[in-house]
Amino acid sequence: MGEGQRDLYYTKGLDVPDTPQPGTSPEPWKETRIIGKSIPRVDGYARVSGAAVYPSDIALPGMLYGAILRCPYPHARVRSVDGTVARDMPGVWAVITGSMPEADLDWSEGGVTTKLFDSHCRFEGEVVAAVAAEDSYQAWDAVREIRVDYEVLPYLVDERKAMESGAPKIHKDGNLVEKNTYARGDVEKGFVEADVILEEVYRSECLIHTPVELHGCVANWDGDLVTIWESTQGVYAVQKKVAQVLGMPLSKVRVIGHYLGGGFGSKLQAGKYTVIAALLAKKAARPVKLFLTREETYLATGNRPPSNMKLKAGVRKDGLLTALQFSCSGTGGAYPVGGTALVDWLIRDLYTCPNVSSEMIDVFTNTGPARPFRAPGHPQGSWALEQMMDALAEKIGMDPVELRLKNIPTYSQAREGNPPYTTTGLEACLKEGEGVRLERCPNPDSGRERQRRPYPKGCGHGELSVVCRRRWSSLHRHRKALLGRERQPEYGSRRHWYWNQNHYGAGDRRGTGCKARDGPDRVCGYGYNSVCHTQRGQQDGSY
């Protein structure tokens, strides 16, 4: 490459050393322009200037606006849908209902196949019909004029009552999705060896992702090719699902998602709205923008489901865990989408323990389907496990950090073949957390001087496993303060990697990296794609 070219593209006049010969080490650069420096994000200008075109900002010539009629009951059967009035309303170009042949499509979720517009509505917010009109206001006018005859059925929304006799049946085979068990070693023997045994019950409540950009897409047909601008974390997942449901080859489905206004796991896959937008666009022969309302996203686009956990743990006086016995019941809602998936993973694998057993019962309820939310199952599992570790440490009179440091595994205990970890970073995390200073920060709730209390600063964000000297419960109390005041990482620093998980939700155009425990040298997904299609972290299989 000529000198001029090099200057133009890479170095802007800096003296760049040549590639070293094999076996020799180059002298370190005395000055770097990028590494170790705080620089604006590559897409920063677009985002702060308003030039970034999010999927919800797409405007195509002749574009129509879609709206979906959703079932207002948690459990109902649709007897009939009458869209004739809606079809004749001003500005309305297309109305689709489940009885139309073009909308009679199969929809698979978690191994259960139903219809796209299923006459058996198993949760409040299930789709019943859809409209495309020239204006979103007109579309909603038309939706309100669709007449539906429902047979309202008894419903079940509390997963703790799903297995009671007489509970309403959500699917024809009953309410049990599956029962998963795991065991290694001998838990009973482990409890005999323990000096201290504790047993606690933990519950986590349902949470909703609430990314600020609503779920939705713009669909446009060009002959037999459909292009979809989708607010998504996974363009390939959307492409696959749309192709599958519409019975099209992958090559005829193009999904674009340059920017994403947050997803946090709820936008990892296509929703029914994606296919509905494509159907409406086909029927109206015009592009259709279909973005849900905030209320609809709460009902139908995913949540982190509740879980009921019981953990019994045994520990020796010297701090070694001898047994962990875990049971959990939870729900993925009306469809088998992993209500208890991976809730026990941290119990199985995070700390060294020879005797572990877990039992997880997943049930159906008349609620919206679950979605991964900042690592499926992990926040719930660590809610139980870390509180238990603190309680055990207190019981045996040991520092909670020391107890954890004593139980760091060097290999994966729960994966097949027990592969060794190249690096885990857990020790570094713990020690960094231990060194966290308690600084005096103002309480954001009050802002008054006299209520200023110390908060641990610089640790804890979102769902990361917060490990520091403060008790979990107190961290939970102060979560507002933490969320409002967390320290953003310097790019390129180790902390950056610890925190990079955030960007999975953000879907930005930078690379996305690894998880807290992986450390800087375990990048499991890095790219400069226009869409970050993230790979699963190999070590803990989470997002």
Partner: protein, 205 residues
């Protein structure tokens, strides 16, 4: 088509109160929304009836035909094409749709387009000088005060409005001034830093 419209109007009867007339607009702007009902000069229109209006956005007049029920957000995004103003909740909770109305931050999703007639609206695009970022935008960029960037236009407008009212705010004032805007990614700390550094930048200008 005309026949269709008539049929529809007969079926729905979704009457809508429009706020035409200078006195009504004045009342709405001062926040006394309850002054609407039963006053003289208030007319009832059907959904679909268009109203001719002029909207001043970013220093330019826009002549528009709007339905009186359309929100300012809808008109800005879908009719004028200024898509930096985002829709997050459409109910005045998230602040992603914040614009400046006569220099004061305002949720455009809770503002009817007809209410905004006669007022000076500024959106994020209006803070730019050609391709150059305004001081608040520049500070947001430098302080990395965003992650997904979707709430950012609203945050920047709220920051701009705050600094116009209080050129040198304390941290408490910044927190209060920005409290109408939610950031789900959790970039609050950097947002506060950005507003602080923007205050400095504005002083130096």
């Amino acid at each position: 088509m005309k026949e269709k419209q008539k049929k529809r109007a007969g079926l729905t009867r979704r009457g809508f109160i429009s706020t035409m007339g200078i006195s009504t607009v004045g009342l709405v702007a001062s926040g006394r929304v309850s002054a609407w009902g039963g006053k003289e000069g208030v007319t009832t229109t059907e959904a679909g009836d268009m109203h001719r209006m002029e909207l001043h956005v970013n220093g330019r007049p826009h002549r528009l035909l709007v339905e009186p029920r359309w929100s300012l957000l809808h008109v800005l995004r879908e009719k004028i094409g200024l898509t930096s103003t985002k829709m997050g909740c459409d109910r005045g909770e998230c602040g992603a749709c914040t614009v400046l109305m006569d220099g004061v931050p305002r949720y455009s999703c809770l503002t009817l387009a007809v209410e905004a007639e006669g007022h000076e609206i500024i959106t994020l695009e209006g803070l730019m000088d050609g391709e150059r970022l305004g001081p608040v935008q520049q500070s947001f960029l430098e302080q990395d005060a965003y992650q997904c960037g979707y709430c950012t236009p609203g945050q920047i407008m709220a920051g701009e409005g705050l600094l116009r009212a209080r050129p040198d705010p304390s941290l408490d004032e910044i927190q209060k001034g920005m409290s109408g805007n939610l950031c789900r990614c959790g970039a609050y700390r950097n947002i506060f830093e950005a507003v602080k550094s923007a205050a400095q930048k504005k002083k130096e200008m």
